[in-house]
Structure formats: C-alpha cells, structure tokens
C-alpha cells in the first residue's frame, strides 16, 4: 500500500489583480507550496461575471495550497488579511498526500 500522510487542501478564489499580494503574503508566512488555476467565470453576492472577451489581469483565480494540518492556522491568518476586504471564497478540505517529505 502506498504510504500517505494527512494534510489540508486550502482553496482560495480571489480576484486576479490580488494574486501577487496573496502569494507574497503566503511566502512571508513560510507557505511556499501552492498551485494557481485560471477561472472562466462565476457568481456570488456581487453578481455574476465571465472572462469572455476580457484581457489582462481580469476576473478571478483559484489558489490551491496543500500543507500539513499544523500549518493551517498560519496560512488562514496570512490569507485572510489579504482577502478579507475583497470578494472571494476560502475553503478547507481534509486530504492525504504522497511524498510527505515535500511538505
């Protein structure tokens, strides 16, 4: 059986122009592992939108961080400081990872 380790998967949906601020805050908080996915469109309290026909730093991105459960609070504090005044969503899911030495 493949060896796996408990971890947390944090998914942060934020506005594209804020991406560099969020990743800078993560690096400062010692969280250097994350993956950024593009977002086509969405809907929330501020209404619905789509990236169709928009160029440059428009719309939103999804930042996925996998990290050890004991680092979760550090990450959430750092992320919340950047994200709070802006629209977006922060979700946390339990998961297992291979190659735990990379986290």
């Amino acid at each position: 059986m493949m060896q796996t380790h408990r971890a947390k998967r944090v998914e942060i949906v934020i506005e594209a122009p804020l991406q560099s601020r969020l990743t800078a805050a993560l690096h400062k908080a010692g969280v250097t592992g994350y993956t950024i996915l593009p977002v086509l469109g969405g809907s929330g309290r501020s209404g619905d939108w789509t990236r169709d026909g928009q160029v440059g730093r428009a719309g939103m991105v999804a930042v996925i961080c996998i990290l050890r459960p004991d680092r979760l609070d550090t990450l959430l504090d750092a992320a919340f400081a950047v994200v709070n005044p802006h629209i977006g969503v922060v979700t946390v899911t339990d998961c297992d990872v291979l190659r735990a030495e990379r986290f």
Partner: protein, 269 residues
C-alpha cells in the same frame, strides 16, 4: 518618424502634455458624472480613472486608419500613449482621499502601475527604436503596431459578446445619464487633446492621435488597478461604460471625426 521630424523638443512637450491630460481629465470626468448621474463618489472616481487613462487598442486602430489615409504622425506618440496610462489612477485616488474615503494605495500597487506590462513594452519598443535610429523604429513599429491588428481582431471577436454581457450585468446602475457620459466624455476629452496638440504644434496626425488618446478610456490596465485600490467600486459599471459604450463609439464615429477636425484646424500642413 522620431529622427525624421528632428523634434526632440516636441517629443518632451508631447509627453508632458500627455501627463497633464492624464492627471487632469479625471477631475473633468468626476464633475461631469456628478452632473449627469447620481453615482456615489467611489464609483465616480473609479470611472474617472478609466477616462483619464487610455485604450491601446483604440490608439492602434487610429494609427492604422492614419496609415490607410496616408496621414503622417510623429513616431513618439507611442511614448505619449505609454505616459498617459498611469497618472489617471493616482489622480482618481486623490479625488477619493479628498472626500475622506480611503483608497488602498500600497507600494505594490505603485510598482504595478508604473511597471505595467504595456508601459514596459511600449517604452521598451521606443527605446530600442531610439537606439537603433530611424530604421530601427520602423522595424520595431512594424513588429509592435502592425501585428497589433491581429490582436485587435481577438478583441473585436469578443467585443460584441462582452459589451452585451457587461451591459446586462450592470443592469440597474447604468442609467441613461451614464450612457450619455460614455458618449459626451470622449468628445470633451478630445477637445482638451486638440488644445494641447495645437499648443505644441504637432502634425495633423499627431494632433489627431492626441485627441484619440484623450478621448479613449482604459479597459485593461485601470480596471485591474481599481480592483486593488477601490474594491468598494462596482467594476461592471465602469467596464460597461469604457468597453461597452466609449470603445465602440470611438472605433466607429469618434476616430474619423477627431481626424477630420485635426486636419481642418491644423490647416494645410
């Protein structure tokens, strides 16, 4: 174009005029919006920043119309366009600060505005042109300006779609007064551009481009900066006006109008 006109003096005057226009036009827009709409100060400041800044696609469309009509324009207008992109954002934030509401300006935003990709590209293209002399500039502008047409079609391919969607999304807030602003403000801006162009003594093509830059509203660089600096402003109103009303207006009726005004007023140059 640069060397050909041997107009180093005019170059700095034109860039200076661009900066003045980009700093000043938001104040005009802020006032015009106050008169034409009942939008709050934050939204008026955000929209004003869009109209003080410029749209590179509108600028490129105007240059290709000039070339199609055999009208010469100073090569350094590329640099004037680059110079006019950022100041409007600063003056919009000043307008808001004056009203006692804080916009979030931080070092990262400053760096982003100044290092904004397109500014780096345009200024870089201009620098290479200056270094390699006249032929270099033509070669570069053949790379930078001509191929932009290709990009232009990607915008147009979507423009029809996004303009429609933007209008629906902003339903309530986009009142008749706001739409009127989207058509009146470009014309008001072009008059200021005309004045500056004549003042410095640019060629008919140069005056026309100064009018186009003042008349155009940003819909790429400024919206991103506003999401960071003025999160309370509703992005769909300013995008609907700059992309859904002013951009199509400039592309179809505006540019030909500004060119003929520039040609008549600069006389048989």
């Amino acid at each position: 174009s640069v060397a050909a006109h041997g107009a180093d003096g005019t170059l700095f005057a034109a860039v200076g005029a661009g900066l003045v226009l980009s700093f000043g036009l938001p104040v005009v827009a802020f006032g015009l919006l106050g008169w034409l709409t009942r939008l709050d100060a934050t939204n008026r400041a955000a929209i004003a920043a869009h109209y003080g800044s410029i749209s590179i696609v509108t600028f490129v469309a105007a240059t290709s119309l000039l070339t199609a009509r055999g009208v010469e324009a100073e090569g350094f207008m590329v640099a004037v366009a680059a110079a006019m992109e950022a100041p409007a954002i600063v003056s919009a934030l000043w307008l808001i600060a004056r009203q006692g509401q804080g916009g979030q300006m931080d070092a990262a935003l400053w760096r982003e505005i100044l290092l904004n990709g397109s500014i780096v590209l345009l200024v870089g293209a201009f620098a290479i042109g200056a270094v390699t002399g006249q032929p270099g500039m033509d070669q570069i502008s053949a790379f930078i300006l001509a191929p932009f047409q290709g990009v232009l079609c990607l915008f147009l391919l979507d423009m029809g779609l996004v303009a429609g969607r933007g209008l629906r999304a902003a339903r309530g807030q986009v009142t008749a007064g706001a739409v009127a602003f989207g058509i009146v403000m470009p014309m008001v801006g072009s008059v200021f551009g005309l004045g500056m162009g004549l003042l410095i003594g640019l060629s008919p093509g140069g005056v026309a481009l100064m009018m186009v830059l003042s008349a155009s509203a940003s819909y790429i660089a400024v919206p991103a900066a506003m999401r960071v600096a003025l999160p309370q402003a509703d992005p769909s109103i300013s995008l609907t006006l700059s992309l859904g009303v002013t951009f199509p207006f400039n592309l179809t009726l505006g540019i030909p109008m500004y060119l003929s005004i520039a040609q008549t007023l600069t006389g048989p140059a």
